[in-house]
């Protein structure tokens, strides 16, 4: 999203999203489907719960010694003939990739789906350098055609109905397209086939990187990842530093739960293991392989309040079950990573002030924790972020005064009783038939769509104090 769009307050962005009928239709269908598929996948998988705990433990242990595991990874990638680069900031990561493109004379880059390259806004940088990026994942291809950004971690075009995609294809590709997913996929395949052959550069993310063996692991469903990593002369993989896992044994644990959480599949259709460039005698693979390790605020959180978020596998399950995400979709959040985990990642990458409002975009219902394969306690960290926002006095002064008053009132029972009496007097003009239908702001935010019960004529504690029958 552009900065101009970000200046619209979050509440308004969410409001417009809820008025978008296409978005509402697409979101309801897709998230409901994902929820059901995930539930079924785990229902038939009794060992799943223990594997989830195991996966989390591996992530925690890896974070303990992240430097050591990264060193091992780097040594092994280099041993296999690959090059490793370290980027502290998104800008550094961009220039590393652009330099590789320049040096190798690349004119076109095919890309597999990758949130890390979205995070660093790589496509814009490539275009500016005269390299045409082509997204080859179907969802990413759709949003690239539409000049949009992904609205879901694993289903980037989740906000579009199939009718909208058909219209987009008809308009942009100048071929009549029917709103039928299979037909649309065929069209995209045909368009992309030549690009794979033309491209000099293949760019991917990485779901995991195995330190022990120097293997970059890509989990995909369309097979495009395999083409991107094998056909072009040069392959660049960009990954957050936290994606390293120590060994293949560890990798198996994650693979056993990742696809189930994401799409309800036992395994994704393709699990590509990439090990350095083509070696002598091999028929396939790039001449050059580069791994870009991205920090971008992650390393600081190893000892920070958002540490747990570094265990995220980017499966998207927490988005699908989030009641807020399900109403507003991904774009309204305004940053690369949407949904509940997205709020934490945005705070990690952009700093806490960026999520002043987003930190409150949650009812703290906890559905995300239950769905998360590694049980990340997202609500706890959202509360932590709210606290940071309060501590830094970033919240509006009216709110801070209101909460200071509330604290006083809740600590002093006489004040509390007085407030109950005052409430009864003040509500008189508004209460009718035991309900309040309209109140001035800020309570008006409640009564616009809901009635409010009035303060009882006698509170329970008042009754208890005066009714002998009740006490007897």
């Amino acid at each position: 999203m552009s900065d101009a769009e970000l200046t619209t307050p979050f509440r308004q962005r969410a409001g417009s999203a809820m008025k978008d009928e296409f978005l509402q239709e697409a979101l309801t269908i897709a998230t409901t489907k994902f929820i059901g598929l995930r539930r079924e996948a785990f229902a038939g998988f009794p060992e799943g719960e223990a594997l989830r705990d195991r996966a989390r433990a591996i992530k925690e242990a890896t974070l303990q010694h992240l430097d050591r595991h990264l060193e091992t990874l780097i040594a092994n990638v280099e041993r296999l003939g690959g090059h490793v680069h370290f980027a502290t900031t998104p800008a550094e990561a961009r220039s590393i990739v652009v330099d590789i493109a320049r040096r190798t004379g690349a004119r076109m880059a095919v890309k597999a789906k990758s949130m890390a390259t979205e995070e660093i806004h790589l496509n814009e940088a490539l275009e500016a350098a005269g390299v045409t990026p082509v997204e080859t994942d179907l969802g990413e291809y759709i949003i690239q055609l539409a000049h949009e950004r992904p609205s879901h971690i694993i289903a980037p075009a989740i906000h579009k109905t199939k009718g909208q995609v058909a219209e987009l294809f008809t308009r942009e590709l100048k071929r009549p397209a029917e709103p039928d997913p299979e037909a649309l996929t065929r069209i995209a395949r045909a368009e992309l086939r030549e690009k794979f052959l033309q491209a000099d550069l293949g760019i991917t993310g990485a779901n995991f990187a195995v330190a022990d063996t120097g293997t970059v692991v890509l989990v995909t469903n369309e097979g495009n990842g395999r083409m991107v990593t094998s056909l072009p002369r040069v392959h660049v993989a960009v990954m957050g530093v936290e994606k390293v896992v120590p060994s293949f044994t560890d990798l198996m644990v994650f693979l056993a739960i990742l696809a189930k959480s994401a799409t309800g599949q036992k395994l994704s259709v393709y699990t590509s293991l990439v090990q350095g460039p083509r070696r002598a005698g091999e028929l396939e693979g790039p001449e050059e392989f580069h791994l870009v390790l991205l920090d971008g605020g992650r390393i600081a959180q190893i000892g920070g309040p958002l540490r747990e978020a570094l265990s995220c596998l980017r499966c998207g399950a927490c988005l699908n079950v989030c009641p807020v995400y399900r109403q507003i979709g991904g774009h309204a959040y305004g940053y690369t990573y949407p949904g509940p985990i997205g709020i934490l990642l945005t705070a990690m990458l952009e700093g806490a002030p960026a999520v002043r409002d987003l930190a409150h975009a949650s009812s703290l219902c906890g559905a995300c924790v239950d769905a998360c394969p590694v049980r990340i306690d997202i609500p706890r960290m959202l509360i932590e972020l709210r606290r940071e926002v309060d501590d830094e006095k970033l919240a509006p002064w009216t709110e801070r005064v209101a909460f200071a008053l509330l604290t006083k009132l809740l600590q002093n029972p006489r004040l509390y009783r007085f407030a109950a009496k005052a409430g009864r007097v003040l509500q008189r003009p508004f209460a009718r038939d035991g309900r309040i239908s309209r109140l001035p702001l800020p309570f008006g935010e409640w009564t616009r769509t809901r009635d409010l019960p009035p303060v009882a004529s006698r509170t329970f504690q008042e009754r208890w104090a005066s009714d002998k029958d009740l006490r007897a």
């Binding site: 009641p323 807020v324 769509t449």
Partner: protein, 242 residues
């Protein structure tokens, strides 16, 4: 039966807006042979402050509550969210203070109402105050915080005069979320609308929940829509056959 006496933590919403719930709990427990006391000067468990990030203020309020219930053998709470606050957050909030051990003890002695009835008292036979078809909404903190989905369903399933029907999406949030309901009222209301559409689809005349927050939200929506469905606290429904 193990409990002879219990203290009612009525909670701020219960005290101010739903006093009948407290009255029903007192009557229910008394019928079961449990004497009820209500320690004076209760205000709130501090959850609204805690959830909004005012941790220090929440701890100050929590310390009061710990002192109020110091002598209580059992503490019964009508709302899953407040019970969760006491059981799960109090010990951490006061961990490094002099009252840390007391907070931990209070956490162990505190029970949400349906859990107290079923798991402590073993009481499951009641008569419906409002006969007919009922459906049950899982409050988030009770379900995912206290991992309780069975006790309320067992009570409603055995309830004389009532027929329990399943609610589609029963485990989905009602959109309350404390200050969330007024910070993002549009989102909160749309979540609520979906919940209530599911409620209407069951044909139940009565929607039961174990949390004053959810009841405020769902009843607010039902009344605004002039629905014939009433949202009731579990205690009110169990309190029949007097």
């Amino acid at each position: 039966m193990t409990a002879r006496r219990a203290s009612l933590m009525v909670t701020c919403l219960g005290d101010l807006f739903f006093p009948e719930v407290g009255v029903s709990i007192v009557r229910l427990l008394r019928k079961l042979g449990v004497a009820v006391d209500v320690p004076a000067d209760q205000t709130c468990c501090g959850l609204p402050l805690f959830n909004s990030g005012y941790r220090g203020d929440a701890a100050a309020v929590a310390r009061r509550t710990v002192a109020l219930f110091k002598e209580s053998e059992y503490v019964v709470v009508p709302s899953g969210s407040c019970a969760w606050m006491v059981k799960h957050e109090y010990p951490g909030l006061m961990a490094d203070t002099a009252v840390g051990p007391e907070a931990r003890e209070l956490a162990a002695r505190t029970h949400e109402l349906s859990q107290f009835l079923v798991r402590v008292l073993g009481a499951t036979e009641f008569t419906a105050a409002v006969p007919g078809r009922v459906t049950y909404h899982d409050s988030c903190h009770l379900l995912r915080g206290l991992h309780e989905s069975e006790s309320p369903r067992m009570l409603l399933g055995k309830l004389r005069g009532a027929e329990l029907v399943p609610l589609p999406g029963a485990d989905e949030c009602c959109g309350f979320g404390g200050s969330f309901a007024v910070r993002l009222p549009e989102v909160s209301s749309q979540i609520l609308a979906k919940k209530l559409a599911n409620v209407e689809s069951t044909g139940a005349g009565c929607l039961v929940a174990c949390d004053a927050g959810c009841l405020m939200q769902m009843n607010g929506g039902l009344k605004r829509a002039k629905s014939r469905v009433r949202a009731l606290h579990l205690a009110e429904l169990l309190d029949g056959g007097r």
